[in-house]
């Protein structure tokens, strides 16, 4: 049961990407790309990492 608690990690990508007011601005840019764009792109590998953690920790569990 405690291992299943790690599914709560999956709330982070929703919180991080679904409130545009927090990231809808230009700075700081990365390689000339405004924050709005690279911040959202950065959530893709971050989400993959979180999913990897959850998948590894809950191996064999049924949801």
């Amino acid at each position: 049961m405690r291992r299943r608690a790690c599914y709560a990690l999956l709330v982070l990508p929703f919180a991080g990407t679904l409130i545009p007011a927090f990231y809808n601005h230009a700075g700081p840019p990365l390689f000339g790309i405004p924050f709005f764009y690279w911040y959202q792109l950065a959530w893709i590998p971050a989400t993959a990492g979180l999913l990897g953690i959850v998948v590894a920790l809950t191996r064999g569990d049924r949801v």
Binding site: L18, G32, Y37
Partner: protein, 484 residues
Amino acid sequence: MSSAAVVLGTIVAGVTVLGFLAARWGGANLGDLEQWALGGRSFGTIVSWFLLGGDLYTAYTFIAVPALVYGVGALGFFAVPYATIAYPVALVVLSRFWVLARERGYVTAADFVRDHYAHRPLEIAVALTGAVAAMPYIALQLVGMRAVFGRFSTLGAAHSLPALTVAFVLLAAYTYVSGLRAPALIAFVKDTLIYVAVIAAIVVIPARLGGWAHVFAVSSAALAARPRPSSIYLAPQQYFTYATMAFGSALSLFIYPHSITSVLAARSLQVVRRNAALLPVYSLLLGLLALLGYCGIAAGISAKDTNSVVPLLFARYFPDWFTGVADAAIVVGALVPAAIMSIGASNLFASNVFREFSPQRSPVETRVAKALTLAICAFALLFVFFVPVPYAIDFQLLGGALMLQIFPSFVLGLWTRRLDPNALLAGWACGIATSGAMAYAAGFTSNFPLHVFGVTLTGFIALYALAVNLIVAIGLTLARRVAR
């Protein structure tokens, strides 16, 4: 004949041969529905990664998203959060569904609905929703192919009918013969071409345009100067639209019949779960392609049809033969999902509409499913020629609004038996009606301005309709319980 046309023609011919050869893969009896439609449920992590990547990242990714960014700026970037949060949803929902499907022999989501509720009308409603929602999605693939073929036709996109028809007839033929093994094998070619083309584009094009900072500066000025001005940032009243489009699309992605088909072809639960963590690599491609929309603006590409922005960009910055490779990536990239969509939709008709689901499947069912793929391909071809939609993406978004209406019966049903099937059917009907009415009122675009408490909330129709659906389904379930 240009070398681009030769390269494109050769690659398309090559994948056609592969499509037919796929029938021999594994030496299976293709008269069996599980073999024809699900590849014998035998695919491991790597085959599934290519297949799902080839299936989920479609002309939507290569054509429609860059076109939307080119056309409306920041709002078009909603596809990136969408393609991110779809995977947490997938992990939770599909882990549950895959196990049940394996135990009980499901081929479609409607098989589950039939088995779970023993309610024939609800099974048919769920099956028809999937089959109908697949049509505009297949049509979107055709729009993508048309954008490529149109570049070769001196008369423009509208006159690429012969090439499009030939490509689609070939697609229908090898799908009929080989089933899911055809797109699974072709997906290896498709994904390789896509990675090569996108990485080349993202290295070469921004550098030739003077760097990203310049690309964004030019795009910002150009968007502001348009007849209908937009921006590289969201306006505050677009926040809600942006979030609802991303969230609604993410909820609907993995209940589409083509997603279900590819997921059920996986060999084990571990294959599905690993892929939930590995597939986001493709979402990075989607994000980079979205940025190519701005490269299109900065390069001064003036496209009468916004869908041709990406093909035109390749044609401008790459040698002719490599443009052919990129064109092939887009065309093959549209053929793979179109094949899986037609398989998924015909499974729904064969297993759930014409004949109710039972774990003992008959050879007749396979024959019906195979014949239906041909009909569905033909129908999608007609759809794209007779239904004009300004942005191809609205095809997919409106299909998504319909698709999401099976969420209560299918996804919630995976966890609860408390919802009454009649109430779910009523909720579904209200959801579909709401989608239709809002889409009509919004001129067949995907967002509806809802006026509540003196505020206007412009949001994705799919989520508004789902809200109505849930209120009706849960309300009627409670009402029936009180009455009893």
